[in-house]
């Protein structure tokens, strides 16, 4: 079996978050070196604060300041910090119950090794030098052996509150297109379109998927199709899509390659966009180094009769 292709796939996006009143106050507070909790109906103080009572479902808005000092309630040693974590040297993940709070906050504790952390240890916040209204305004926690610090009396009213944040997310995958797609791509490198036929319904899929989506059986019989095909339907794209370097207007078409039972999608060129029509006969145009045809152009053959492709729209 030939080697199956694989490549990195990075999925990343700067998601925005509208914070709502409670998270807005909490994050703005961090910017001002103030930690806020929220008082529940039964008098407990939750830190970090939440908008709705996890027990009664009541709306919670009664914000109270808690101390920047607290007690470790449990911990785990992180011996190999990863990108984006609070510290780049080994540290302890800790749950810290700040003085005045009834629940614990997750953060990092900067200590030299696991022997230097224990449940019950006293810690305090180490504030980041530059703060913007984010959980990272707390750089980390550090050991503390002084007196408990009395919290201030903030109730969450701040000038210029933070109302939204950007939460950049990134996922790193290793993507493999699998056996069938790999064989298809290998053939494309020789400018041939090779699909697979379903042993049950006899339909030819290009690109192949390794299985027939209607019969649910593996497909293995290779079938070369094309290179010519028929435009079965299309649209004229008049707006420029992001990250696509194609001049508008252009035609985006469904193209049934000769011998295939499902149309694939491609751009039509070599003809004015307003002269493209259903039934137009086309062939692929390759550019050096490209994995896929750059576009399809008219072959000059007479148009296909509608009845020959009406099932392939």
């Amino acid at each position: 079996m030939p080697e199956v292709l694989k490549a990195p796939l990075v999925v990343e996006f700067p998601f925005t978050r509208s914070l709502g009143p409670v998270q807005s106050a909490f994050l703005t507070g961090l910017r001002e070196r103030v930690v806020l909790g929220v008082r529940t109906t039964d008098g407990r103080t939750l830190v970090p604060p939440v908008e709705y009572d996890p027990v009664t479902a009541d709306e919670l808005r009664d914000l109270v300041e808690v101390a920047p000092t607290g007690t470790v309630t449990t911990w785990a040693w992180n011996h190999a910090p990863r990108r984006g974590q609070p510290l780049d040297t080994p540290f302890a993940w800790v749950l810290v119950r700040l003085d005045g709070a009834d629940t614990a906050l997750l953060h990092a504790l900067d200590v030299p090794g696991p022997d230097a952390v224990r449940t019950g240890a006293r810690v305090r916040i180490r504030w980041a030098a530059e703060r913007s209204g984010a959980i990272t305004d707390i750089a980390c926690f550090e050991p503390y052996d002084g007196e408990p610090v009395r919290p201030g009396g903030s109730t969450g009213e701040f000038a210029d509150p933070v109302t939204g944040i950007v939460a950049a997310a990134r996922l790193d995958y290793t993507y493999t297109p699998g056996r069938a797609q790999t064989a298809y791509l290998d053939a494309l490198a020789e400018h041939r379109a090779v699909g697979e036929r379903c042993p049950s319904c006899r339909k030819v899929y290009v690109p192949p998927r390794g299985a027939c989506p209607t019969c649910g059986v593996a497909t293995t019989e290779r079938v070369e199709v094309g290179p010519g095909g028929t435009v079965t339907t299309f649209c004229i794209v008049n707006i420029k899509a992001k990250n696509l370097d194609i001049e508008v207007p252009y035609v985006y078409a469904h193209i049934a390659l000769d011998g295939a039972d499902l149309a694939l999608h491609g751009r039509i060129g070599g003809i004015p966009y307003d002269q493209v029509r259903m039934g137009l006969r086309v062939e692929p145009v390759w550019t050096p180094g490209a994995r896929h045809p750059d576009h399809y152009r008219p072959t000059g053959e007479p148009d296909a009769d509608y009845d020959t492709y009406k099932e392939l729209l």
Binding site: V11, F13, G20, P54, C235, V237, N243, H265, G266, L313
Partner: protein
């Protein structure tokens, strides 16, 4: 043992807008849920289970949002389910909730669907740069526009029909205070003059991108008897799916859509949907899908759907009003859009639709679809309980 009849006794929506920057996702869903509870005159304690739906997690980038939303929806200590079937999810979420009542698993269920499209970019979420694959060359409208052209070829519909749908839906939206788009100066000429984005689809014939949530309280006979306002009764409900792309797929009138409708009509004893159903809220993200779905849902013969639109049958005062609320063309918080169709159908059956209420709403169909015409969900609701 027969199924328990399912009644809709509470409906709540947010005012749908482009960006709700004043609330978190939790605040958004809470608003719709509280309005539904208020409508039913119930409290969190009356709810036995919560069924929530939304479109792909990439649309906000909150993985498994149902976990974080449990507090806001009073779900702690109760069963909570999350449903996902792409754009049809609002419909299928309601049907999962309805199934729990019909099966007598729970007496009263809160069901809710939402999307906060402003937190991400749905087009990005749907077109990840998969290695080795040719990138999608055309955007969301470009994916659907060739199917519209195929419909026009098959039906011989004149190219004016798409604008008529958009003009109608945007005018209907003016009567719905919750609709996103309120284009007070809309004219047919303006729709017709709007730019062709993906020929044959014009800008004005596409849906907006919205932040919004929709909630319903579903309950059993006992719950309906206690309801302060007339309930809507579920007369039939079904879901069907099929692959996005397969040899033989009819993208213009998908088999799964036809089968789904047939199942609903069988349950409800509907022999002639055109005569027996009074109004329809259907999922029309691009205007041409109105005539396409009219055929797919059996309201018109193949190739004839556009004639209903063109002759005014689907207008608010027509014989078969379609998308009285303004539809997806006026409001599209994707995950919620299907539930809004279901809820608007129920509002009509309850006689609670306000300015966009139709006179005759004894039986109203709610319809949703999603993916590349991959998932379908529908329910028929009526003013009277099902005959058992």
């Amino acid at each position: 043992m027969s199924k328990e009849p399912v009644a809709v006794v509470g409906i709540g929506q947010t005012k749908h807008v482009a960006a709700r920057r004043d609330v978190s996702v939790a605040g958004l869903v809470r608003e719709a849920a509280c309005r539904a509870l208020d409508d039913a005159e119930l409290t969190w304690a009356d709810i036995d289970a919560v069924v929530i739906g939304k479109a792909p997690d990439f649309f906000e980038g909150v993985m498994m949002p149902e976990l974080y939303l449990a507090d806001a929806l009073g779900a702690v200590g109760k069963p909570m389910l999350r449903v996902h079937t792409a754009g049809s999810v609002g419909g299928s979420t309601a049907l999962v909730a309805a199934g729990l009542v019909a099966a007598r698993v729970h007496g009263t269920v809160l069901t809710l669907a939402f999307e906060k499209q402003s937190e991400s970019n749905a087009m990005w979420g749907l077109s990840l740069p998969i290695p080795f694959q040719q990138p999608l060359l055309a955007g969301a409208g470009g994916f659907f526009a060739p199917h519209v052209r195929a419909y026009m070829r098959r039906s011989g519909a004149p190219d004016t029909v798409g604008s008529l749908v958009a003009y109608k839906d945007r005018r209907n939206a003016l009567k719905n205070p919750y609709a996103h788009l309120h284009e007070h100066d809309i004219t047919l000429e303006k729709v017709q003059a709007s730019p062709m984005l993906w020929d044959p689809i014009r800008y004005s014939e596409t849906c907006p991108s919205s932040d919004g949530a929709c909630a319903m309280i579903l309950t059993d006979r006992a719950g309906a008897a206690r309801a302060p306002r007339p309930p809507a009764w579920m007369l039939g409900g079904a879901m069907r799916s099929e692959p996005t792309l397969f040899a033989g797929k009819d993208a213009v009138s998908p088999q799964a859509g036809r089968d789904c409708a047939a199942d609903v009509y069988r349950q409800a004893g509907i022999a002639d949907p055109r005569r027996e159903i009074d109004a329809v809220e259907m999922y029309v993200p691009f205007s041409w899908y109105e005539p396409m779905w009219l055929e797919n849902l059996g309201f018109a013969d193949e190739g004839e759907g556009w004639k209903l639109t063109e002759s005014g049958v689907t207008e608010l005062d027509g014989d078969l009003p379609v998308n009285m609320s303004g539809g997806v063309l006026s409001t599209n918080p994707i995950g919620a859009s299907g539930m809004i169709r279901f809820a608007e159908a129920a509002l009509q059956a309850r006689g609670q639709a306000g300015e966009h209420q139709v006179e005759r709403a004894g039986k109203v169909l709610g319809h949703a679809y999603g993916g590349g015409s991959q998932f379908f969900s529908m329910w028929l609701v009526g003013a009277r309980p099902p005959e058992s």
